[in-house]
Symmetry: C2
Subunit: 436 residues, 2 copies
Amino acid sequence: MEKSRSKFPKVVVIGGGFGGIELAKHLKDKPLDVLMLDKHNYHTFQPLLYQVATGGLEADSIAFPLRKIFDGQKNFRFRIAEVTKIHPIKQTIDTTIGEIPYDYLVIATGSTTNFFGNKRVEHFSMPMKSIPEALNLRSMILQNLEEALLQPSRELREPYLNFVIVGGGPTGVELSGAIAELRNHILHKDYPELNKDEMQVYLVEGLPKVLQVMSPQASAKAEEFLKDMGVKVLTNVNVKDYDGKQITLANGKTISTHNVIWSAGVQGQVIEGVPKDSIIRGNRIQTDEFNRVKGTENIYTIGDVAAVITGETPKGHPGVAPVAIQQGKQLAKNLVRLVNNEPMQPFKYFDKGSMATVGRNKAVVDLHKFRFQGFFAWLTWMFVHLISLISFRNKVVVFINWIGSYFSYNGGARLIIRKFIREEIVNDEHLPKAED
Amino acid sequence: MEKSRSKFPKVVVIGGGFGGIELAKHLKDKPLDVLMLDKHNYHTFQPLLYQVATGGLEADSIAFPLRKIFDGQKNFRFRIAEVTKIHPIKQTIDTTIGEIPYDYLVIATGSTTNFFGNKRVEHFSMPMKSIPEALNLRSMILQNLEEALLQPSRELREPYLNFVIVGGGPTGVELSGAIAELRNHILHKDYPELNKDEMQVYLVEGLPKVLQVMSPQASAKAEEFLKDMGVKVLTNVNVKDYDGKQITLANGKTISTHNVIWSAGVQGQVIEGVPKDSIIRGNRIQTDEFNRVKGTENIYTIGDVAAVITGETPKGHPGVAPVAIQQGKQLAKNLVRLVNNEPMQPFKYFDKGSMATVGRNKAVVDLHKFRFQGFFAWLTWMFVHLISLISFRNKVVVFINWIGSYFSYNGGARLIIRKFIREEIVNDEHLPKAED
């Protein structure tokens, strides 16, 4: 069992994402002892994962080792561990490195891909929520281009060269834009034997428009940008089935493809032991205005997995980085108030706006007072993402990569370091059959 | 079957290392059709692999995609493939992507780790000859430091904190220096709970000195540098056995360790079908002075796997990058001479000297007329390696990393992107028992 070596109350933070890091940073030099657990030893800058998946950036430029972030913070410790169960009465958690006691527990586990129960789609399509997943996706894309080279006819090449991205949120829009750029600017250089017209990129969205969360102007312009780049945007249609070779849409349309990327939904990563009636739609954990889990005394949750339900926010806040960061900071202050016997302050979200990029010179930005699209939006998007990256080194490396890509139209290394091997289906009886 | 689409004679090059690349580049615009095969889609700059293994550099800064090197070279094609057999009479090769015919075949497969038949050592120790191997090694090192944190006593921490590098050639010297720097400069920052004195680095060499291939001054100074940095250099002693927990030396000394890195030897990567009597010591392929494989008409070999045996070089040339590069260039010229019905020219190696680095400000350089060690040697080593890297981007990224490390004493990201999982020994009966 991990023992605390101070007399201060012990805060255990599960997860080193935006929220967990912000919380732990703001507990520096406070009368609390912080233990952070994460299954990885690094923080992932998720907004740029799609550039890792499409070979524009390397993993290390958007990942930062958690230990290094807290160099010199004396009340902070970190362990690589997964948490398997919470015991609220005993005030301990079961983990892969043993049982750990806590005085305050903070669940900052974030979200994972939601396939809405479709096991076949889950089995055959690619998610992109972590660095290993993004690297798998990259290997798959590049391996399928290599495979296309070996096929003797257009018909046989088709499934290797059709790319279908499901979900028209920011991730789906950014991914389909990046794959379209691969097609438009890279394909003829790296694979001169392949014909650009044989490679197709589809974006499938169930709602009437892409970027539903943004302004109507942003949605319309993003769709226009995508179409300019050659992406086939299919709105108002859901995915019915995917068997690894062909995707079937609800309107009956089929596309022959080995490349389906699923960015159509997320769900909270809940840990066993959280009170069952605190878990709401989308697998999020309901909290009060202090981010305290409903039905508990000293368990808190922040970020994507948390739903702060109040009169003003009946559905909680959107699952985006600024919410996690603001909740982490606020909770740190509240925990300090708690140990000082002061009253906690309720969480208030300050929404700075949102943005998404489609490709070179093409982005959409919604701020409070300003909405703009195109080149200046693209510069804004790059600037905001650059300054948000942790560490000077990452900022410099990403900046150099972007500058290089801008001038060469041929950025990124596109290395297949580890081959992606799709899990063989020796016996697919455990998968439900396609519906008729 | 891969068909050639020109009437020019077809050169198939197996391997995209230093030799294969140089050969293919020098065949640009020549009346030959080049097909390069490699199991990876990138070239590896092997001299800096040890910095990837120890977390100082990321894989992408020393890897470069082969397709990009040959952008625009019209007589060049590349395929990811492994070659399983050569049929010299039919003039075809069997590969993982089918049978491929050739007019000229060039074997540039390089070398792999040589465990000298010790299956137990091979099973339990880590090689470092490729990027996936270097990344595995990095994950293992970092995971064992994490594991040490969880152990309650010094005795239980010991095997996780003892590092044994076997083989005192340039790779072994550079690796032990880099791990010693991790201990001296990083450990107290990333793992303040661990005591530096509990981490030990051993370098084991069977010969009386390290860097046997270099001058006596270089060997002596390298050993002095290593000792200054706290490395325990054990010379004149071979490894007898390693069972994954304890390494036993020929003199009876044992060291409790989960970290054994094997850099004690290499052997050529020979492909089935090469005439048996051309294969000599160290699994190298004997050639004449034109790099033509003994007993064949149109099969050539260059680089680490080749042994150009003449009166002047009865054992062939050393397995280093400059030899491969010079052989690649010379063979390209000779193949052009062949198709023009001109006589080939024999290969002559121009030895520019050799160098190795031990750590910050500590390197040894042997040139023709000059031998020097220390700070200026270290600058020379960095300069030569920087300019040898392929692509401007890689030069810039490595340079920034080195500058950053120099000033911060805390370079590199040390990410565990993919966990290293040691193959479980469910049944180790297939491994020979330790000798008594």
